[in-house]
Chain length 409, copies 2
């Protein structure tokens, strides 16, 4: 049996009501039996805006293609489903989206272009319309109270062991605006869209192009800064929907100081969700916090940090609580970034283990104590520049194999 | 306990005597206790030649740096050791090689430049000269009979579960020449030098530059065509030494037909050793044979094939005998190579599972039978060109984690 991540929070956060949103959750039997797997969200305002970032995988799912085609049409409906990702299903998979969007459009008296989709689950399975159509027909929409938000976050889980949510507030001039976010993701998690699925909602009024810039700016240090297994999903999607129901002021440019606090809150929200995704990484026993400094530029900093985070040998060493900094040497060496062997410094938990081109004497008891904990920090200075990057990863455990040798995802 | 690879051959091959070579094996206690860990090889001819290929890791070990510095000096001595790789040991690690080479040069009445080194084991551990110096002082050199070759191949093992060797013969005009090869490697195995260590010896007479071209030509479909865990070692070295003791004819150009048969035999020898390395991959339960066709060019074919071979999710699916071709879709999509979704064909064990942009009905019993076997073949046609690549990988198993969470390498 898969056990709860040791990083699971004590409770799901209290997500705010975003005026203009109604939420419905049900069990449609798309793949799982006897559990919620379908979430529909009605956006009851006409002038909402949406920003989104999708997977860089060259074989994206039909829902990703659908959303890319219809962006930036102001969203009026959003359908999320778990169990079948509707990926590599060809014309038939696309037709299901057409049919479901038409069905919703007729009932809701909107255009089908304003319906967005996000799905997660097995790749390549035949995707049938009937479960979705039946589920949507009987769905009850309601103002999203905290319990309903939690039910929605739970309904989109696959191998996740806990529901993921975030709640933030920000000031836009005198107005308080809210951010509510939910996400799912546990395996097939690698940067360049790392979340599988994340949805953020705000009652701020922000035009599409500014919203899109804000979301892009929030990525590098949140969803693009985590890796569970170096595998990039075909379904990864992050969507940010602004209803504008807070009647806050609207700025004309992305960097208007009016949005300073909102940008910060959005960054917090993305980081919070990304952290929850990586700490629910399949089979996680230990969180890996990699801080790379002294790189030539930020691309190389990120490349070296990810090479450490994704190395099976580093990940298994951390799982075994082994201060095997030699494998960190291997991982930065294979990243082929600019480096200076004599200048490299490698620290575990703040203790210098290697410096000046070789091993250093260190406080073994203190390092072992750090490695025995849940969070392991590896800091590497490449010694050639001023660029840095931070990446979260996790260990490679027996549970990762147990989960993935059995589960179809 | 680590168990023998299910692919371990019944017996070590019978390696030929290469005239001009003497071999010594002993236990020097570099890291392991109570087992052979030091091999020294004396090349008793003055006009030998050497070709070598080394790791692309940017933090190579001191032995790799040493060899690169002294190539193509005709080799007169070769020292191999297991347990400590002498990597990231800085000036001290280099000094040990200087001292050991001087010691050998004095005793053997050769120059220290003609001594070559190859080491494998833990990275970053302090590397002491004493065990090597003591071991070499008492070493007995002998004509390498089959039993001695096997002892040498066993002495360089680390996490390997079986000793690896190959024996080939080739015709150079009327002369028969021999190739004897040994290798070690089990983890930290990724292309761009995949073996950790491999040594090939021949009594053919081939000048250095031709020998080097031949070795390079043999790489793509042997050592560069395997991956165990996507981690590229700091110590990978393949060396090919020709003693010229067979009195065979010498050609002036690499592509002289005189060497046709030798080139083929060398290719066979490299493939044989590479196959033994990947089939002894840490924790291997199943061998993964990936055949990629229809790519734009051979670099993209190789990139897509390796993306499949290195995907943790594909590897765990194979471990679980799950025909999860959706994960193959993910792996080729994340490789970002040119592809045409509608043209892609994915086969497991010769059965078409996906084609025309979606799933195909297939003989489930036959595919399951194939997946239950030891060797799983995944064939992917990208449908955009004529380039192809073949890569061997293996599954990701509990044993890989067991080995690497405990063992320091």
């Amino acid at each position: 049996m898969v056990t709860l991540s040791p990083f699971a929070p004590d409770q799901f956060p209290t997500l705010p009501i975003i005026a203009g949103l109604k939420l419905g959750v049900t069990a449609c039997g798309l793949c799982y039996q006897g559990r919620d797997d379908l979430v529909a969200l009605r956006i009851e305002v006409k002038n909402s805006s949406i920003a989104a970032v999708f997977t860089t995988n060259k074989l994206p799912g039909e829902p990703v293609k659908w959303c890319k085609k219809h962006l930036p049409t102001p969203p009026q409906h959003l359908v999320m489903a778990a169990g079948n990702a509707n990926v590599f299903t060809g014309a038939a998979g696309w037709q299901v989206l057409e049919d479901v969007a038409e069905d919703i459009a007729k009932r809701e008296k909107i255009t089908s272009n304003a319906v967005y989709f996000a799905m997660t689950g097995v790749i390549g399975e035949i995707f049938l319309a009937t479960p979705l159509l039946n589920g949507l027909a009987e769905l009850q929409y309601a103002v999203p109270n905290p319990a309903l938000w939690q039910r929605a976050a739970s309904a989109i889980m696959t191998t996740d062991t806990f529901a993921k949510g975030t709640a933030q507030t920000a000031k836009v001039a005198e107005n308080s605006v809210q951010i509510a976010g939910i996400a799912k993701g546990s395996g097939m998690i690698a940067p360049d869209m790392a979340t599988m699925l994340a949805f953020l909602f705000t009652d701020a009024a922000i035009p599409h192009d500014l919203l899109q810039q804000m979301l892009h700016a929030a990525m590098p240090e949140s969803f693009h800064g985590i890796s569970v297994d170096s595998d990039t999903s075909t379904s990864d999607s992050v969507m940010l929907i602004a209803t504008g129901t807070s009647d806050c002021l609207v700025a004309k440019t992305y960097d208007d100081p009016l949005y300073d606090d909102f940008r910060t809150a959005l960054q917090r929200a993305c980081q919070d969700l990304a952290y929850q995704v990586v700490t629910d990484g399949e089979g996680i026993a230990k969180l890996l916090d990699i801080r790379l400094t002294g790189a030539k530029d930020s691309a190389e900093a990120r490349c070296a940090a990810l090479s450490i985070a994704n190395s099976p040998l580093v990940k298994t060493a951390i799982n075994g609580a082994d201060a095997n900094w030699g494998r960190v040497v291997m991982a930065i060496g294979k990243a082929r970034v600019a480096l200076e062997p004599e200048q490299i410094q490698i620290c575990f938990g703040g203790h210098v283990l290697a410096e000046g081109g070789g091993a250093m004497a260190y406080d073994i008891a203190a390092v072992n104590k750090h490695l025995a904990g849940r969070k392991v920090t590896i800091a590497v200075n490449l010694g050639v520049g001023n660029a840095s990057a931070q990446v979260y990863g996790n260990d490679l455990s027996h549970d990762y194999i147990r989960i993935n040798a059995d589960y179809r995802s």
